[in-house]
């Protein structure tokens, strides 16, 4: 076992932390209050060279390992969790669609991301079926040489400013699920409802999207029609780990606010618990990210363990931070208030706390899924 970070990871993490502190943090509360999106913040992330995290190096991206990815996302979340979540889902969406895209699609997406800061998104969740990638109700109907997509997608993070959206749909005349690459700005029938006003992560623009006979070309299907598994599998464990990193970063955001308020000393049971829970979540997240780079049977449990511990620890830490501030006579601090709401998103997002618990237990008990 070796616990020291390599120099590249340390350098990128330090850069991300400095960027989060100097650029993201000063506007985080305002964005939370107004519910305005983080599109400007994402442009700043692009300008800072942290936008192509999961794109392969031979295609001009940073091609970082999962460990560096979660460290960078966590560092950015320590300044603005909403921006970090949007970046995380953009990076994962980009990596996912690039796996199954044709060469011309790949070039277009990569050039868009690299040169124009184009944002990617995934539209999987639906109001009735949730985030199950195998059971969307959105329907793809053959029309001429293309398809008409009809349905409603919910919680489409980045929808307002995404240039490329991966839409999951079932076919009228084929079994299975397909993923379609949709370019919202040039596709009629793709309506972003701009109705996101969430409890936390308020600046992520996770709007509903209504697909009203949304016309896409026949070659917009990624991979073979009806065989989406090759696409969804490629997302692998990086998505939940990135989300866990956002939770942990949001908790760190609360802790750094305590430091600003000079409330991290003296040692009390609450402060000790904050520190210890951060240490546990951080260690498990790193471990799971290392496993994710070299998948093995251990990965199966390490990922839900990390997600569960990060999400639950983040909630506890944010609550404790507020408790510590109140005991010092500080009420309604906007940063602590925002963090308490933001950290609660992780436990309800894909691979939510209950799914994590079930996956862990099934692995422990030798039960299949």
């Amino acid at each position: 076992m070796e616990f020291a970070l390599d120099s590249q990871t340390q350098i990128v993490e330090d850069r991300a932390r400095r960027f989060a502190r100097e650029v993201l943090a000063p506007r985080a509360n305002e964005l939370d209050r107004t519910g305005a999106g983080v599109d400007e913040q994402l442009r700043a992330v692009h300008a800072a060279g942290l936008f192509e995290l999961l794109i392969d190096r031979d295609e001009g991206g940073l091609g970082v390992e999962p460990l560096l990815f979660v460290r960078a996302i966590r560092a950015l979340a320590s300044g603005c969790p909403s921006t970090a979540l949007c970046l995380c889902l953009h990076a994962v969406s980009a990596a996912t669609l690039l796996v199954a895209a044709r060469p011309d699609q790949r070039r277009k997406v990569i050039d868009g991301i690299r040169h124009d800061g184009a944002v990617c998104a995934v539209a999987v969740s639906e109001p009735r079926t949730g985030a199950n990638p195998n059971a969307p109700e959105t329907l793809a109907v053959r029309s001429g040489d293309g398809y008409l997509l009809s349905g409603v997608k919910s919680f489409v993070t980045n929808a307002r400013w995404a240039s490329f959206v991966l839409v999951a749909a079932v076919h009228e005349d084929l079994p299975g699920v397909s993923h379609f690459l949709v370019e919202p700005f040039s596709t009629p029938g793709f309506e972003v409802c701009r109705d996101w006003s969430g409890f936390g992560m308020r600046a992520t623009g996770s709007d509903r999207v209504v697909l009203d006979r949304c016309r896409v070309a026949g070659d917009a299907v990624l991979g073979e029609p009806g065989k989406s598994a090759q696409v969804t599998r490629s997302r692998g464990p990086v998505t939940p780990l990135g989300q866990a990193a956002v939770s942990l970063g949001a908790a760190e955001n609360a802790v750094s606010r305590l430091a600003e308020l000079d409330l991290l000393a003296p040692e009390t049971p609450a402060r000790r618990e904050v520190r210890a829970r951060l240490a546990a979540a951080s260690a498990l997240l790193d471990r799971a990210a290392i496993h994710a780079a070299r998948p093995s049977p251990a990965t199966q449990r390490a990922v839900p363990e990390a997600k569960l511990v990060c999400d639950t620890a983040a909630i506890r830490i944010a609550d404790l931070a507020d408790e510590i501030a109140r005991s010092a006579g500080i009420f309604g601090d906007p940063t602590l208030d925002r963090c308490r709401r933001d950290v609660r998103a992780g436990a309800v997002m894909t691979l939510n706390a209950e799914v994590c618990r079930d996956n862990i237990a099934r692995s422990l008990l030798g039960m299949g899924k």
Binding site: A281, L308, V309, C356
Partner: protein, 300 residues
Amino acid sequence: MDCQLTPGQRRFVDAARIEAERVLPIVAALDAGGLELASELRRVRQAVPAPMSALELVLAVEQLARASASLATAFWLVDVAGRFGPKQIELAAVEGLRRLLNGGLGGPDIAVRPAGATAVVTVLSSPIGPAFGVAERPSASGDSVHELSGLRGLRLTVTMSVEPDIPAVWPVGDAQRWARLAHAAVCVGVAQRALDEACQHLVDRVKMPENQPLSTFQGLRFMVADVDAAVEGARWPLYAAAAALDQVGDGVGDAVWLATTAVQLATTTALQIAGGTGFSPDKPFERLARDAWALVALSG
């Protein structure tokens, strides 16, 4: 960063695991006083290589604690005493257990000593401080003596002294950090054993009259999942703190807090999952719970 054991670290884990498996059938007898801990400890120390680092000690202790918290505690006490104090302290080092862990807290004077030892007080100090020594004092008539219900294999009693007279020269710095990490490793080992036993119980037992395995109940599965998260969340910071101790000495307090929290959750959850059978000495659940309480009490 890498989470795989090196071949050298694997050697400690394997050797300690073999010893733990050997000891497992006699753990109940050790706990009940039917066997002498010291002789078992000697065999274990012959079989497990002397740890060269805090991480190696932690790895070995954790494995031993899966079988016996008492044996694992004795193992690290002797190791730490030998490393930072006089070799001849041996098992009498349990005398200073609480002070070793807490570095001489204020408040009532509390000594932990093996039964039968007549008020021996072990004094350890930093290798660069005053000379090591073993001071003795007779039991004061006003002392109240309590036998711990956990860690029974160590035959510990806790003496609340009316007249604190133990010299305040107790290990600080490295000795205390090593001791606290090793103590946390015992907690993690006990917690892991409790989790393993709880899982086995869920697999083995059925609910009648449907003949349905307990493992099919999601409520029970969630309980073991939470324990697993706590145990893993304690284990990795412990390893990281032990590895860092060899360099800068960081994270020890967090590791102890996480380990004691995990062992409490694991043993009480396991006891609950086991139901009535958990109360029987035929099963390990009640012993693990008693050991956990003693470990937590000694953690300060």
